[in-house]
Amino acid sequence: MKRRAFAGYLRRTAVIAVVGGVYVFLLAPVLVVVVASFDGGDPVAGRAFLNFPPSSVSLQWYFEIQPRLFHALWISLLVAAFAAVVGTLVGVPAALGLARSDLRGKTLLGALFRAPLQIPFIVIGIAFLQTYYLLGNYFGFRIAGSFVGLALGHLFVATPYVIGSVGAILQRFDTSLEEAALSLGASRWRTFRRVTLPIIMPGIYAGALFSFMVSFGDVPISLFLASPQYTTLPLEIFHSMEFDFDAAILAISTLIVAGSLIVLWLVQKLVGLDVMLRSGGSG
């Protein structure tokens, strides 16, 4: 009896150690960025390399964040929000169509919808730029260098995430629930709103979240579609890092981490993360 309890204790300890180790491994880079952003050491060294652990603590780098980084952050948030919202509006009907229709060549269509994720993003960036120029030439529709042009490029790679996550839920969707609603007199729209939508909601949340994240962190597509007015934060950081390291980048990254945590906390408070992600929401 004692031996079995001891074995159980060992197993639990091992699981905790492994899980803890994985978490430390995943979170360590974020922790390094956050801690190093408070470096109070020599500002010249702070412009040459990341100082970790910091020799002293200060907020000096937070006062060094340039306005262009905040502007770029704002653009990134707008573009990512566009990709997440419009990606959802496009992706959910596409996923429903793929799961429910009797279209011939459905498999091919599904593969086509996933294709954006199989093309290197840098190729997508230059292909979109070229397309915009062609559209401008033939139809006078000039969107190269505009917000719409940038956002559409991001939307292209964001939508497959919504299709994938919603599609996964629809694969194991019990259609008898919808049939029951319809047989009880509910209209198609009411059935969708009251039965289908709540069930696929975790997939929509997950897909929109992935879309947002993919767009927010993108460099290669923005590299070709950004313009002086519409430059995203990752692109600004990428260009800065080509020349010199600047600890102010750590400071704005820390603000983003803090902002993300606040948003998560608010979501937890208002809706409940557990509610959002319950029922296999990851898709």
């Binding site: 412009r47 040459a48 990341l50 070229q130 120029y133 070709f224 260009h239 080509e242 020349f243 600047d246």
Partner: protein, 360 residues
């Protein structure tokens, strides 16, 4: 309406008309012009704007930047080929992108009369298509203290890096980094090769047993600071930055054939089809001015192309901990650098050879 009111009204109208007339006479040369420049981002763009933006604005214009390294900028020009309006008016060019830029017809001739500052540049720093606004001196940065501790003498050429004590302690730029090109030739020259025969160099680099291939200069500073590497093949600007940050490094300008050190140039050129030619030429002229060159030299660590600035700073070069200068600034030293002959250069061929030999 009283006569006083009428007088006031007439006076006001007079002022408005006067301002209009004289304001028009004083209008800037670039009224309503938005000049778009394709160049590096980060602190580079900021420094340029600090100096040139107010000057363009004083003439009624506006300066904007499309950021990217010269290869990305060239890709954008390729994508925009045939457009009525190019994506930017001025483009940053490096030696390695120059052949494709010229062959693609992406630049147009400048009116040299509008660039009086070229008089301060050496003849090999400009032509009618482009003017060099920065230079880097490529070689290798080494950790002075680590070398001393290990008893390794100060190297003088690329082959000295084959000291067994340096095994796994060297970082070389990846082929995607512009800085990789000159050192490849430097290594090739050690075995009788050159820019037209880089195979011997690539074989040597393969045998070098490097710690890593770096993609961004920030990686170099981090690896030096953490002690992972003792040597980085890089340009001298990174050595200056590390030195200023307190890392005891020195710069070796290696002997290449009969020359000492390797030079790489960056140019600004006028994009074909620009509708703001005068503003673009004004910008390029400002870029090579003494004031701008001094700012870029002292704050961004580049070698100035303006001879007056070279002379001014050659007598007071920044020295490393062992008393050796980081940069060769005297015009005769700059003239004695090894400059690659870029005739027939093909990035595609070099990358393919690199992938077959070094990256395999």
């Amino acid at each position: 309406m009283t006569s006083a009111c009428l007088r006031n009204l007439a006076a006001t109208l007079g002022v408005i008309v006067g301002v209009g007339v004289f304001g028009g006479a004083n209008a800037g040369r670039f009224d309503g012009v938005t000049l778009t420049v394709g160049t590096f981002g980060g602190s580079w763009k900021d420094r340029i704007c600090e100096h040139i933006c107010p000057k363009i604005e004083a003439e009624g214009g506006k300066l904007e930047f499309v950021t990217g390294n010269p290869r990305i900028l060239l890709s954008k020009l390729v994508a925009a080929r045939g457009q009525a309006e190019p994506p930017f008016d001025v483009v940053e060019i490096v030696d390695s992108t120059w052949p494709d830029t010229l062959a693609g017809g992406f630049v147009e001739k400048m009116d040299m009369a509008n660039l009086p500052n070229v008089a301060s540049l050496d003849a090999n720093m400009y032509d009618e298509y482009k003017a060099a606004n920065w230079m880097t001196e490529e070689g290798f940065i080494f950790h002075i203290d680590k070398f001393k501790e290990a008893g390794i003498p100060r190297p003088t050429r690329f082959k000295d890096l084959f000291d067994p004590r340096l095994k796994g302690k060297i970082s070389f730029p990846d082929i995607n980094v512009n800085t990789a090109l000159n050192p490849i030739v430097g290594f090739a020259a050690e075995e009788g090769g050159d820019e037209h025969n880089i195979d011997p160099g690539l074989k040597l680099i393969k045998d070098l047993d490097v710690f890593s291939f770096w993609n961004s200069g920030t990686q170099i500073t981090q690896m030096f600071q953490s002690g992972d590497i003792w040597v980085a093949i890089a340009h001298a600007g990174w050595g200056v930055r590390l030195h200023d940050a307190g890392v005891p490094v020195g710069m070796v300008h290696p002997r290449v054939k009969d020359r000492v050190g390797m030079g790489s140039r960056g140019y600004a050129g006028l994009v074909k089809g620009t509708t703001h030619k005068a503003a673009a030429e004004f910008y390029i002229n400002e870029l090579i001015s003494e004031e701008m060159q001094e700012i870029l030299h002292t704050r961004n660590g580049i070698v100035p192309t303006n001879k007056n600035v070279q002379l001014a700073y050659s007598s007071k070069p920044k020295l490393d901990a062992s008393g050796e200068p980081f940069l060769l600034l005297a015009p005769e030293q700059i003239g004695n650098l090894y400059y690659m002959d870029w005739t027939g250069f093909s990035m595609k061929d070099w990358t393919s050879k690199w992938n077959r030999t070094v990256a395999r």
